[in-house]
Each structure stands twice: as structure tokens, then as C-alpha cells.
């Protein structure tokens, strides 16, 4: 998840070049049947094709937007609920005890195992998918925020009290910023979970989205589009995680140096 140290950045770049090189060699030497492993130029042609003509009625942008929208919608909802709830749980042992088992039950649960229930209850539309992503992400976020509050350095609180801080000021000026590193870590884990879940959910039930595109193409043995979809999903996931990481590094500039 973190960036390779600068002096070795070229190795990271080289590995990507090597990957594409190996792909090219396998195709050029006819080591794999073209219908199982399409060539780079086939995938490129597929990209141009769906950029211009779309795939089965939806454009690539619409599919990407649908996937991103569901992902970020579920993630935002989980953040809005999970962070305050987790902060509150960190303060209140009673609240924490009341929700503890439920969160512990939910966190390791594969979201797809209950997707079918959500579809039965909420329909096949986006509501069930956003609900799924919310449920997948929010236990991680809440538990990270709770751990953040519990881990606040007690002497920082005492130092603030001796500067005349009220209870509310201690929370606002010491507890909240102290939690930030843990909260951001929780959000980064949750975003990765949300993104992989949204694609899996689209594989099972959707009429648009990148996951749907991949699944649909596989039914027609359009391996060029499947491969293209995988590449786009990978790059998109990386971009999302990098965006959150750079926000993290800017907000939590003291991480690891404290």
C-alpha cells in the first residue's frame, strides 16, 4: 500500500514493463491460444471499441461511474456512521459493550454471503448494493475509531487539562486529532474492502458497472473485454487507494514520527 522508497522506484516501474513484455512474448510465440489469452493489441482494440461504441448499450464511462458511485456511496455512508459511532464507543464502555459482539460478528463475515438476503429485502437496484458496501465497511471503520479513542495518550489529556481545557475541549483538541491516524488507517482498509466488494456484487447482480461488464463479457467468451475490465479495475482501485493515502499523509503528517 505504501510507496516504494525513491531509489528503488525504477524497480517498480520495471516490473510493470516486464509484465507487459512477458504478455507480448507469450502471444508473439503463440504459447497460449488467442481466445484464452488475447494479445495486447486485441485488448487495446477492445478498449477503443467500447470507448466509442460502449459495451452492450452502456459506455465505459457509465460503467466506471456506476461502479465508483456505488463504491464511494457505500464508503461515505459507512464513514459518516462508523466514525462518530466508533468515537462514541471509545468514550462509552456501555455503548461499546452493547455493540461489540455484533461488530465482531460482522467484521470477518464475507459480504457476499448475505448479499442475496439484501437483494430479497431491498431489490436488485443500487440500494441493496450500497447497503452491502455499508455493512462491509462500517465495522472496520467503527472499530478503528474506537481503538483510536482508547489509545489516546493520557498525559496529553492531562497536559491539556492543566492548560485549562474543559471536557469538551479535551475531546475537540486532543482526542479527535489523536484518533486521526487510526481513523485514517481504518478508512484505507475499509476502502479496499468496499472496492473489492462492489465488483463482486456487480458480478452477481447488476445491469451496468465494471464488474457487470467483466461478468457479461465472460458469458460470451470475450476474454479481451474481461482482461480489459480487470486492468481498468486494478488501476482504478490503485488510484482510489493512492488518493486516500495522499490525503492521509497530508492530514497525519506526524505519523510514525511521534
Amino acid at each position: 500500500m505504501t510507496e516504494a522508497p525513491r531509489p528503488y522506484r525504477w524497480l517498480s516501474v520495471l516490473s510493470v514493463v516486464a509484465f507487459f513484455g512477458a504478455w507480448y512474448v507469450v502471444n508473439a510465440a503463440h504459447l497460449a491460444p488467442a481466445n484464452l489469452l488475447p494479445s495486447m493489441s486485441d485488448v487495446w482494440a477492445a478498449l477503443l471499441d467500447i470507448l466509442h461504441n460502449g459495451y452492450r448499450g452502456t459506455t465505459l464511462w457509465e460503467d466506471a461511474a456506476a461502479t465508483l458511485g456505488r463504491c464511494l456511496g457505500g464508503f461515505a455512508l459507512a464513514t459518516l456512521v462508523g466514525v462518530p459511532l466508533g468515537l462514541w464507543m471509545g468514550r462509552s464502555r456501555i455503548l461499546a459493550a452493547s455493540i461489540d459482539y455484533i461488530l465482531q460478528f460482522m467484521r470477518p463475515l464475507p459480504p457476499l454471503s448475505y448479499l442475496i438476503l439484501l437483494i430479497l429485502w431491498l431489490g436488485t437496484g443500487d440500494t441493496s448494493k450500497v447497503a452491502l458496501l455499508f455493512l462491509a465497511a462500517f465495522p472496520t471503520i467503527a472499530m478503528a475509531a474506537m481503538a483510536g479513542v482508547r489509545g489516546v495518550n493520557g498525559q496529553r489529556i492531562q497536559a491539556a487539562l492543566a492548560c485549562g481545557a474543559t471536557e469538551a475541549q479535551v475531546f475537540r483538541h486532543v482526542v479527535l486529532p489523536s484518533c486521526l491516524p487510526m481513523v485514517m488507517t481504518g478508512l484505507r482498509i475499509a476502502l479496499a474492502v468496499t472496492f473489492s466488494t462492489v465488483v463482486a456484487a456487480e458480478l452477481m447482480t447488476a445491469s451496468n458497472g465494471l464488474g457487470w461488464m467483466v461478468f457479461s463479457a465472460s458469458q460470451f467468451l470475450r476474454t479481451d473485454i474481461v482482461l480489459l475490465g480487470v486492468l481498468i479495475l486494478g488501476v482504478l482501485g490503485m488510484a482510489l487507494s493512492r488518493a486516500l493515502l495522499s490525503l492521509d499523509l497530508r492530514l497525519v503528517h506526524w505519523r510514525g514520527r511521534d
Partner: protein
């Protein structure tokens, strides 16, 4: 606190801080641990009181009770005639770990107290600048605490407390984590600040030399349960000295007092 007709306090006029028969017990039932037992200790405004004793003698508990971070099981702690009831801005605290706020700059840490009281950045700028200049941190005002050395971090922690103009500065092993040279420098600076401001200081330390050098009073405590064994007046803090600290610390009178305190600690530590 009742006042006499002439307006002076009835309790001994120079009592500023008072521990009256203070005991602190941690835990309950079979797991009860007495940390402090029947502590009675008074000191006057402007005193620099150093508390020494072996580990586990309740030195830190003593400070925490005055800071208001814990409530004594029995007895009362009072400052300036008022019983201590929770932490307050009149008692500045400094710990062994600086416990700075890494999300704030050096200036932000220094101005933390005034910020809490709603002073605008402009209003507090002057005080913050004066204090940061006093400890040589003004050039680092826009840095973050993690960019400072250990000694600078501790100076900033002291400034964060002093900015609030506390009636007393409470320090718990403030130089314990610093290297020997930095420690001596910090002692000099603290001594200079105390001479200049005339403020009251309670310093908890493991270092007998530090206590005898900085303190007007050295309080020796015994381990578990913590009791005060002896309180000794030390003359070196108020003495005019032109030379460096090592000159004072090698005076025969200084060495004699240091050894006397050390032998008291050895005796009480038992085996």
C-alpha cells in the same frame, strides 16, 4: 478560608501549598496498595521544592494529587488557601515525556492554553513570542514537535505550561529522558527561569544532585507506602553564583549535603 481582621490569612502567613495528612490508596479490597501515607507538607510561594526517593515511593502520586489528576483517599491538598478539586490552569504540569501535540506547530503548542481561552492568534502572539524567545525556540516556531531534539521538546513543554502564568509549576522527572549534558543545560535554564520569575516549583526527580542544586527544599521520601522522612533546606538555589553549575556542584558543602540526602535514601530503601 477565614481571614483575620488585618486581612492576612490565619494559617501561617507564608503557606502557599499545603498537603494536610494526605493518604492515597490505589485499588480496593485485597488488592489495596497504599501509595502515600499521612503526608503533611507545606511550602511557601517562591519555594523550589524537590522531592527525591527510591522508585515506588509515591513521588509521582504526590504531584498528581496537587495537579488534581487524582483525589486523595483522605486528607486535603490546597493551594493558595483553596482545596484542590480537579486540574486547573493555575498549576502547570510537565512530565518526563514532553506529551506535546504533534498536530500543532511549536507556536501552536506554546499557545495552546490561550487558544483554549478563546484568545485570537493575534492576542496570544506576543506572549508566545516572548516565551519561545526565552527558551531559544522562536526560530523553530513553524516547525512541528517531532522535528525538535529531546531537550527542545522539553523546553516547549515547559513553555506550554508557563504561558498560562500558573501559580506553581509541577514537574515529574522532566529531565529524566535526556542525556547528561542536555540535562545539566536544562537545569541551568530552569534555574534561570525560576530566578527571573520567582515562581513556585515542585520538582520530582531521581537525581539527588539535581534536587540539591535546584531546590530550596529537598524532601526525602520512603518507599511503599510513601512517607516523608525528612525535609532539608538547601542553600544553593538562592545563592548568587557567577560560575558554572559544576563549580557549585563540587563545593564541599554541596557534596556533603548531596551525600547526606543519598545516605537517607539508602537507609530507607532497606536492603
Amino acid at each position: 478560608m477565614p481571614d483575620a481582621s488585618d486581612g492576612r490569612r490565619l494559617v501561617t502567613s507564608d503557606t502557599f501549598v499545603s498537603f494536610a495528612d494526605v493518604s492515597v490508596t490505589y485499588g480496593s479490597g485485597a488488592g489495596r496498595v497504599p501509595a502515600l501515607e499521612n503526608i503533611s507538607l507545606d511550602f511557601a510561594a517562591g519555594d523550589f521544592v524537590c522531592v527525591v526517593g527510591p522508585s515506588g515511593c509515591g513521588k509521582t502520586t504526590l504531584m498528581q494529587a496537587l495537579a488534581g489528576f487524582l483525589k486523595p483517599s483522605t486528607g486535603t491538598v490546597s493551594i493558595d488557601g483553596r482545596p484542590v478539586d480537579g486540574p486547573g490552569v493555575d498549576r502547570g504540569v510537565v512530565f518526563q515525556q514532553p506529551a506535546l501535540f504533534p498536530w500543532l506547530t511549536v507556536a501552536g503548542n506554546a499557545g495552546f492554553g490561550p487558544m483554549l481561552r478563546g484568545e485570537s492568534r493575534r492576542d496570544r502572539a506576543g506572549t508566545v513570542e516572548d516565551h519561545l524567545r526565552m527558551v531559544g525556540l522562536w526560530d523553530f516556531r513553524d516547525r512541528y514537535p517531532y522535528e525538535l531534539s529531546g531537550g527542545m521538546q522539553q523546553r516547549l513543554a515547559i513553555v506550554r505550561a508557563l504561558v498560562n502564568k500558573p501559580k506553581i509549576l509541577l514537574m515529574d522527572e522532566p529531565f529524566g529522558a535526556l542525556d547528561a549534558l542536555t540535562r545539566e543545560k536544562m537545569q541551568e535554564e530552569l534555574h534561570a527561569v525560576w530566578r527571573r520569575t520567582g515562581m513556585t516549583v515542585l520538582l520530582i526527580t531521581h537525581s539527588v544532585e539535581e534536587a540539591v542544586y535546584l531546590g530550596t527544599d529537598v524532601v526525602v521520601m520512603s518507599p511503599r507506602p510513601g512517607r516523608i522522612i525528612e525535609r532539608i533546606a538547601a542553600p544553593f538555589a538562592r545563592r548568587e553564583s557567577a560560575g558554572c553549575s559544576r563549580d557549585t556542584k563540587s563545593l564541599p558543602a554541596f557534596v556533603a549535603l548531596r551525600e547526606r540526602v543519598l545516605s537517607l535514601i539508602w537507609q530507607t530503601a532497606g536492603t
